[in-house]
């Protein structure tokens, strides 16, 4: 177990800068998730932590050791790859013990360790098989077993679940979380799946174009995104960005949206809107904050009911997503399935803006911070 500090790390290939000064630091035992679209530099950052790629500038510290220029084997970290990268010529047991063998661990200890890991991951019956004889999920477990066997200071997971089918992915996700709770080791985990990021992480670093857009706990990222990109990336369905005009009302400021009829909604931090009076901004509102009228919320401070024109309904079982359009923006509302919303008709919706955020339309930054 060790903390990880990434201090102003830059990586250049010729003229192109892949990492533009990354600063992340996490405590020992924390589960850090690097998330972002493909090409955002998250895998490069991961490889730099592992020592598989050199950084052009900056420092990487594991615990108190500066490992920026240490070779991969001296960093005492283990990695699980997206392609699993199991050694095809070795059995499962040999795969798991290879790292120990390289570190000159005596044979008996190696065998004991293989047994311990196999039991933890329930792969005891597979130990004599070759990787080619395993299913995707089994390979995934073996790949984790190989990482676990060495008991390293830190684990790196590079999109470990992206080659599994949907059901197995959810299962393994839970298992990884349990494993982390049990072992309490530091984990850095790369994914482009925001649900994985939300469910697993102690802290999430949302990356784009080689920069960390925001580093925070899943809830912080969900409730308090710093810009449009982070807000749109985390959450499924994504946050609604509703064009709204800032209006002055009774000495305070509020937002006017074009629902079925123009509707004025209050905003939690009205003073932050002052500079934008008369201009259009983007109101960020999660789908679950636009619902069918709920009696217990009636009359509360940030709740407004307004009619919308239903475009499409998407029943999901637990909820029904109701799609409408406010100006040019598509807006998702999360409703009770019993609520009789029908495509083509207008129906009342309750807008709860108590957790709403506002973004500058031009540069995408938050304006209410």
């Amino acid at each position: 177990m060790a903390s990880l500090t990434i201090d102003n790390v830059k990586k250049r290939y010729g003229q192109t800068e892949i990492l533009k000064g990354i600063n992340i630091s996490i405590e020992a035992g924390e589960f850090l998730i690097l998330v972002g679209p493909s090409g955002c530099g998250k895998s490069t950052l991961m490889n730099s932590i592992a020592g598989l790629e050199d950084v052009s500038e900056g420092r990487i510290l594991i615990g108190d050791n500066d490992v920026t220029y240490a070779s991969p084997k001296d960093r005492d970290i283990a990695m699980v790859f997206q392609s699993y990268a199991l050694y095809p010529n070795m059995t499962v047991a040999e795969n798991i013990s290879f790292g120990l063998e390289m570190r000159k661990v005596p044979k008996e200890e190696r065998e004991a360790e293989v047994e311990r890991v196999a039991e933890m991951l329930q792969i005891g019956h597979l130990l004599k098989r070759k990787p080619a004889q395993l299913s995707g999920g089994q390979r995934q477990r073996v790949a984790m077993g190989r990482a676990l066997a060495r008991r390293p200071k830190m684990y790196l997971f590079d999109e470990p679940l992206s080659n599994l089918d949907a059901k197995l992915r959810v299962e393994m996700r839970t298992e990884i979380k349990k494993l982390h709770q049990k072992l309490g080791t530091t984990i850095v985990y790369v994914t482009h799946d925001q649900i994985e990021a939300m469910t697993l992480a102690d802290r999430i670093a949302v990356m784009k174009d080689g920069e960390v857009q925001q580093l925070g706990t899943p809830q912080e990222i969900y409730d308090n995104p710093t810009n449009l990109f982070v807000a749109g990336f985390m959450g499924s369905p994504a946050m609604n960005f509703i064009p709204a005009k800032v209006v002055e009302q009774n000495g305070s400021y509020a937002l006017e949206l074009q629902a079925a009829t123009p509707t004025v909604v209050p905003f939690p931090k009205p003073d932050s809107l002052k500079a934008h009076v008369g201009k259009e901004i983007l109101l960020g509102l999660r789908p679950e904050m636009i619902t069918e009228p709920q009696p217990h919320k009636e009359g509360k401070e940030f709740v407004v009911t307004a009619d919308i024109d239903v475009e499409v309904t998407e029943p999901m079982g637990a909820d029904t997503m109701v799609l409408t359009r406010i100006q040019s923006a598509e807006v998702n509302c999360r409703c009770n399935p019993a609520y009789p919303a029908r495509a083509g008709e207008a129906i009342a919706m309750m807008f709860d803006t108590s957790k709403a955020v506002a973004f500058d339309k031009d540069n995408g930054q938050r304006i209410d911070n």
Binding site: A50, P72, K73, F81, Q82, Y87, N89, F98
Partner: protein, 293 residues
């Protein structure tokens, strides 16, 4: 009633199919004919060769020509047959194949998994080696061998073949190793394995198909080589191809075609055997690097 589509075989289709087979068998016969003539001739005695036709069968099986070709025929002033040169060839081929294959494997491993600054240029330069004609390097190589003190020796010939073969073997191994995922090497590095350990424990065990291809290729090339053999061998280190040439060109009185043919088949036998034993790997391995799968 029945809407099952029947395969329509017209008369034209049948005729074309028959024509195709006739064509294929004809071509096969054309390719096999020389070998058949050699085999038949080697089993006849000189008298029968003179009186009969090329394709007439021998009246009795007569292996005298084979034993003479193996151990009694004259190659120039010596009359020991092909046997000593046959073993000379093995002494050249085995180390040359082993060394060039191993070097090719190491080179391919470095070029595809331990890229260094300029490794692509290095690989391109190496490829040029595949296209250098033999004749061009004869004189410089003769000087080099003389300077190294290994002119006219088996060692010298082995070195020539290794130098010439490395370009090809590297190309083979590099293409094969391109299809091995880089994560495998990364995982091994994190596990604490070094350059040679990864090569020996991870890479080599999965290289069987390409090793077979390279061995067949190098074996055939080096065994069949005549030019380097005639240019760089000494009196008693001549390979079998040179001996065959000498044998055919040495004649006292009438030409013994049966002995010539037997000697030629003996000289060709090892490459035939190698190809028959490992041929299926050859085709499999040659295409392995071409299509990622």
């Amino acid at each position: 009633m029945s809407n099952v589509a029947k395969r329509q075989t017209s008369t034209l289709d049948k005729v074309l199919r028959i024509a195709l087979y006739v064509c294929l068998f004809g071509m096969a016969a054309v390719y096999l004919a020389p070998f058949l003539v050699m085999l038949l001739t080697s089993l006849k005695d000189v008298e029968e060769i003179r009186s009969g036709t090329l394709l007439s069968l021998p009246s009795s099986l007569n292996f005298d020509a084979w034993s003479k070709a193996w151990s009694g025929a004259c190659t120039g002033s010596q009359c020991e047959g092909m046997a000593p040169y046959f073993f000379n060839s093995f002494q050249i081929v085995i180390p040359a194949v082993a060394i060039s294959t191993l070097l090719g494997a190491l080179n391919g491993y470095v070029i595809s998994h331990w890229k260094f600054k300029g490794s692509d240029v290095f690989f391109a330069a190496l490829l040029v080696g595949c296209f250098i004609p033999f004749q061009v390097i004869l004189l410089p190589m003769a000087r080099t061998l003389g300077w190294l003190g290994i002119a006219n020796t088996t060692t010298g010939l082995v070195m020539v073949h290794v130098v010439y073969g490395v370009a090809f073997t590297t190309l083979f191994f590099r293409n094969f190793y391109q299809s091995i995922p880089v994560e495998l090497v990364k995982a091994a590095r994190l596990d604490g394995a070094g350059f040679f350990t990864i090569f020996y424990r991870i890479i080599l065990p999965v290289s069987t198909p390409i090793i077979v291809v390279t061995v067949i290729w190098q074996f055939t090339q080096i065994w069949n080589d005549f030019l380097f053999g005639v240019a760089f061998s000494g009196f008693d280190t001549q390979p079998v191809t040179v001996a065959l040439n000498n044998l055919v060109n040495t004649s006292f009185g009438g030409k013994e075609y049966n002995v010539d043919m037997a000697a030629a088949i003996i000289a060709a036998l090892p490459t035939l055997v190698v190809y028959i034993l490992a041929g299926k790997y050859f085709v499999r391995g040659l295409t392995a690097g071409a299509v990622k799968g």
